[in-house]
Symmetry: none
Subunit: 423 residues, 2 copies
């Protein structure tokens, strides 16, 4: 190890106009940040700049002042608009060196596709002399590793799978070898059913009593709040035990809100429960328009427990395909306890499943009344023993109402599955 | 207008640890960059920093030196880890002002959900005195507009739909009013059915002959390629006419690939055609698992033409709910021309619609065979006169296969609707 630092600061610099004009979303930085975080390195800044010499060199200088490691992606293609390599040579005040073994690698890549290497591709074997080349097994542009005054600069192509290959094969292992990294342990608790502000009030005392090594972050999204706990230090066993203790205390405070951990989704949790219990499910969807079925079937292997769905947008479909009584539609309307219960029981009987979910509501923006404003959603869950229905009042935004309704319906099924298993 | 500039430089600052640790991808910046680009403003830099006072203030100072407009997102939630507001007050060297009308707005938002405002939410009505508040109709955290020495700072919440609402209602109109922006005219042509590289070869001669004022950008996404044409200059009428001429030339080259323009989606185009023709549709979905129904119903008013769907994941549901012959399932399998045709005709008869779409395929990653590899998808479209089925071979990725299948199925219905209208 050539030097130690308490917190290892990383800056990511992304070069490319296509991000600045909104043509593509920068998914590389999030991927790199996650991998770095996993090995205990902290990304302090992500900067996206355009393909200009001056811009690039000034971003390098700023980053060197702040960081131990600067990871640069983009701007290494063979076309004219890519100037990163020139900027690196100028920044490190060096000439170019030609690497015959890199040229041979590029020629092999072309041969693999039955093509001949062009002149501009051959130029990709010319690199700033100050760098150590990193072989790119996925493409023609090599990675480059520079060191100066204790700061490491790494330049990689912006093509996601090329960058990922270089990170995995060269950059992450070298960083682990060169730097004495702290240990970070994370655990994310997934909650549903309470907004961020109420949740924060409810767990305020616990949050205030967290040990100094543990940090809490709120990550809200429609209908859900993820709570991420991170513990920083040296001793992984000790940190994991501290973290688990806090996770246990948190769950005890909000047991009815927690539906999963880390990379779980409500549909994966429900799917796992159904599979474990050997049960099947179907859905009858009005306002959610098929989104619950889509979520359930987005999981590979869901055909083991999901048999089918009826999307009953029209009242005729509710009657003919699900057996909803016309009189109930007349007396109570489609958005009612009576109808949503008949929908759930109807699809369960029709598809011969153990459980069924039904939704009927006013997603908006039109269709609301004084009695049933936009955002009014009835959800029913029907099981072997009973059918339960519940009314919700969400917001004004159609897309959000559909999303939250689908997630809430899946969560109600999850609760039913857990309760029925305890009995 | 209070000042003019040849190129209006914008910097976006995103505050939040969740991006720096790779927990979420920053999609806000791309959206904002695109909207700014559309009105002729240039995003020169996107910076992501953590939730720390010092970090935030130093990023503000750097940005002010470089930019005419600094757009800041994130860090405005009611919880303790959000320090943006304090940083803004310190940076603009001002106190806080309490806005009773904002508190009333927050209280109204809570009342809408039948809930009482909490103490910390009430604090969201306290803003740095130097700012002009921007009403956030989608959430509790107001936007803030600051001006100093010719630079505008705008702070918005990081929740995407709140940020988008504030941008649309306040920020973009104010920027257009305050700054003398160059004229940019855009037109985006939406295509489906040919990959980016083939498409670029097919339109190469046209692209090479584009006038200097016109720029072309390729925006690929699963199953689609959007071609954005932008004309830059001063005279809007002239630019529009140049652009329209190029759009017409392009369409003449690839008439069968173009399905819409600008903000159209395949589901909105299909919905408009159905409405115009006074026709209805239903879907029978196996591999798409309800996604076609979800897409169709994501559009407000879709109940005018979409009556319902059967998601028939299990073979029993295909037989009982759609009338598929058991013998066909045995002889040809669920992923076959015979079955997908019966699914489409079955749901059309059952739901009494004019048209019906059906899908049956192997989304993967498991379930493929030599004869029917992962990515094999049958799609049928059934109308008053005939039923047509077509086989596709997409890729290995489940999510992508489901998405492309749904879009392709909707596009086949679009072609059927156009042809039937011509007859």
């Amino acid at each position: 190890m050539w030097f130690l630092c308490a917190t290892m600061k990383v800056e990511i610099i992304t070069i490319g106009d296509e991000i600045l004009i909104g043509q593509i979303v920068d998914t590389n930085s999030a991927w790199m940040a996650k991998k770095l975080n996993d090995i205990g390195a902290t990304v302090e800044r992500i900067v996206t700049i355009s393909d200009g010499m001056e811009e690039i060199i000034s971003a390098f200088a700023d980053a060197e002042k702040r960081s131990n490691i600067v990871l640069v992606t983009g701007g290494l293609g063979p076309t004219k608009d890519d100037v990163t390599k020139k900027a690196l040579a100028e920044y490190f005040n060096c000439d170019f060196t030609f690497y015959p073994e890199i040229e041979a690698h590029i020629a092999r890549l072309f041969a693999r596709f039955g093509k001949k290497m062009s002149k501009i591709n051959s130029l990709q074997a010319e690199l700033p002399s100050a760098c150590q080349p990193l072989q790119n097994n996925e493409g023609t542009a090599p990675g480059m590793w520079f060191e100066r005054n204790g700061t490491v600069f790494v330049s990689m192509p912006g093509v996601p799978y090329e960058m990922k290959g270089l990170m995995r094969e060269h950059v992450l292992p070298r960083i682990k070898e060169k730097f004495n990294l702290p240990t970070i342990v994370h655990k994310t608790i997934l909650t549903m059913g309470m907004g961020e502000s109420w949740l924060s009030e409810r767990i305020e005392d616990w949050e205030d009593s967290l040990p100094t090594e543990v940090k809490l972050a709120y990550l809200p999204s429609p209908g859900r709040v993820r709570l991420r706990l991170s513990a920083f230090g040296k001793d992984e066993v000790r940190l994991s035990s501290i973290l688990q203790n806090e996770v246990d205390r948190l769950i005890a405070l909000i047991p009815e809100l927690v539906f999963g951990f880390d990379n779980d989704t409500i549909e994966s949790v429900v799917g796992d429960l159904l599979r474990e219990q050997g049960k099947t499910v179907s859905t009858a969807e009005s306002c959610t328009g098929g989104l619950i079925a889509h979520k359930l079937t987005s999981i590979s292997g869901s055909s083991d427990y999901f048999l089918g769905a009826v999307v009953s947008y029209a009242n005729e479909v509710k009657m003919e395909s699900l057996g909803v009584d016309e009189q109930n539609l007349i007396d109570f309307g489609a958005v009612s306890e009576q109808v949503v219960i008949q929908m759930a029981e109807g699809v369960r009987a029709k598809m011969k499943t153990d459980y069924a979910i039904a939704t009927s509501g006013i997603a908006g923006p039109t269709g609301g009344t004084d009695e049933k404003p936009v955002g009014t959603i009835w959800i029913a869950v029907c099981g072997p023993k009973e059918t339960k229905a519940k009314k919700f009042l969400f917001g004004q935004n159609r897309e959000r109402n559909i999303e939250i309704s689908a997630n809430t319906a899946l969560n109600l099924l999850r609760k039913t599955l857990i309760t029925s298993n305890l009995k």
